[in-house]
Structure formats: C-alpha cells, structure tokens
Symmetry: C2
Subunit: 185 residues, 2 copies
C-alpha cells in the first residue's frame, strides 16, 4: 500500500510489523487477529490499512522481517569456519530454548502459509532461498580453502543443512525438548 513518507510513519509501520511478527510467531498467522496486533503495537486500524492492503500483505512483511532478523543474528558468526559454524548451531539451540521451543521464526510461518495462499507460500520460499544462499556462500568459501571435500556441492550442502535445521526445529517444538535439534545439527 502506501510507503511511509515521514520518519514517524516509518516507525509506526515498523512497530506494527514487529508486533505482528511476535504474535504470529507465538500463536500462528491465523491465530493472530488484526486487533491483537493493533493492541500490541498501540496503533489504530486505519494506520494498519494505510500501510498494508490486507492481512496477507502484512503477513508477507512479517516474513521479510523475520528473515532479516535471522540473517542479522547470523552475521555475528564466521560460518565459513568449523568453529564458527558450530558456534552458530549452538546459538540456534540456545535461541530455540530461550524462546520457549516455539520453532523457527521462518519455518513455522512457511508451513502455515503454504496452506494459505500460493502468494504467501512463494514469499516464504523466497526467504528460504535467501537464507540458503548465505549458507551456500559460506560452504563455497570453505571448499575453496580445502576445509570440505572438493566434490561436495555447496548448494547441496546448504539445502541439506537448512533441512536439518528445519527438521530439528520441528521435532524439538513438538516435543518441547532440545534433543532432536541437538542430534540433527
């Protein structure tokens, strides 16, 4: 819908997306009502519909927001070293635990959205591809430096790694236990 043109507008829009992200992470997309979001963000309805055309539109923005969060947190690690990779895995585990075993901020959205509309599903897929590409770069760098087998394809590795993360998150969330994730990673 409308891009925010003032600084204040930007802040309000961001507050709405953040509130929506938090609630949707906790209760799921369909379990979160517009009014819940508005209450949490201390915003009015007209604000939301000023910046977003629909709930789906807002949900798409939430995907982008969560991707940015994940990628941001990831930046603090040198994923192209074994130690960095391990440290990152540990951080994922720590996050899953401290957030109360609620799963991957992107993965849980992706599953629900895949059943909602092709557009949202595609948006989630795009986020995954983005994420995967950052891993791919790390693996490619490792391969170039001989840290991993020369005939291992970085994009295969990246996809399998991502799948292991998602599978681990999923089981860990269902069981409310860290072990499935520990084992997967």
């Amino acid at each position: 819908m409308h891009e925010p043109k003032t600084q204040r507008g930007q802040a309000r829009r961001a507050a709405i997306v953040e509130a929506a992200a938090a609630l949707m992470y906790e209760r799921g997309v369909r379990g979160t009502s517009i009014e819940d979001v508005l209450d949490a963000a201390e915003a009015g309805k007209s604000q939301l519909y000023h910046y977003f055309s629909s709930k789906d539109d807002l949900s798409a923005a939430v995907v982008d927001h969560q991707l940015a969060q994940v990628l941001g947190a990831q930046q603090e690690f040198r994923l192209d070293t074994w130690n960095g990779l391990r440290a990152w895995f540990d951080a994922l585990l720590e996050g899953q635990q401290s957030r109360g075993f609620r799963g991957c901020p992107i993965g849980s959205l992706a599953v629900e959205m895949s059943a909602m509309s092709p557009e949202l599903r595609a948006r989630a897929a795009e986020a995954f591809r983005h994420w995967q590409r950052t891993l791919e770069r790390a693996f490619a760098s490792m391969r170039k430096r001989g840290l991993i087998d020369a005939d291992a394809l970085p994009d295969d590795l990246a996809q399998v790694t991502l799948a292991a993360i998602q599978g681990g998150y999923l089981l860990s969330t269902a069981e409310q236990d860290l072990q499935p994730m520990v084992r997967s990673l």
Copy 2:
C-alpha cells in the same frame, strides 16, 4: 465424547474424520471450518458433536488417523534392509509429488498445533514418538545384523532420520519442488 456403538455409527464417525483429515491437510486446521468438514462428509452438525466434544477433539482424532495412514503405508516396506529403506524413501518422494507438494500429513499438523494448544501439541508429539519408534526398531534390527555401525544408537538414527524427512518435506512444500527432499534423504 460418545463412542459409536453401532456399525453405522462407526462408519459415520470414520467418514467425518477422513473428511476432516483431507481438508485439514489441504488447508490447515484453522483454515478448515466444521461446516466444510460436514459438507464433505455429508453429515450434520449433531453427528459431529455426538462423537466429538469440540473441534480440538476432532483435530486430535485426525492426528491419530494420519499416523495410522503413514504407518500403514510404511508397513509395505522392509525398513530393516538398505533396499527397503531406499524404496520407502522413494515412496515418500512419490507421495509428496503426487499429492501436490502439500507436505507431511503429520508434520504440517504438528507445526500448526504446536501454536494452538499444549494438548494438541502433545498429541502430535506422541504421533512422532510412535513413528520414531517404528524406525528405531528397524535400525536396531539392522545393527544386530551388522548392516550399520555397532556404536550407532538406533534411537539417535531414528530421530535424525525423522528430522531429515520433516525438514525435506518442509522445504519441498515451500518451494513446490522435490529436490530438497531428494537431497535430504
């Protein structure tokens, strides 16, 4: 609620669960209304509330139903041989494709239910444990016959396998592409 006491009652109850399972698989739990289920099952509301106390109760029955389906399909394979295992993986891939990339019949429920209520989350977790145990038995049998390393723990293997399956399903569904699953398995 009430157990069906006649053959007819059993058939009606089963029809409702089946319809609910199909719809919830396609559209998600929250995306499926009671009335949708009733229309599909050609049943009336009083029938449903005769056999189930609530939508959550019905959803729990759907989890059990899907678990039975998965385990039933799995029975046709000798999972304690490498060839059988591979054949089973192929069947999972084939199923995911032929059903239109809608994900794991249990996994997709599990994610949504984890955000819905502790009770449903626990029910999904139970289904996973059941499933995992069947894999565990297969791996234990393989280990006894020396087909896999003696110091590999069957229950670790089973959990990791399940996680790989779930992660593969998840990415495959988001991308609408079989490759992530192929690579994971």
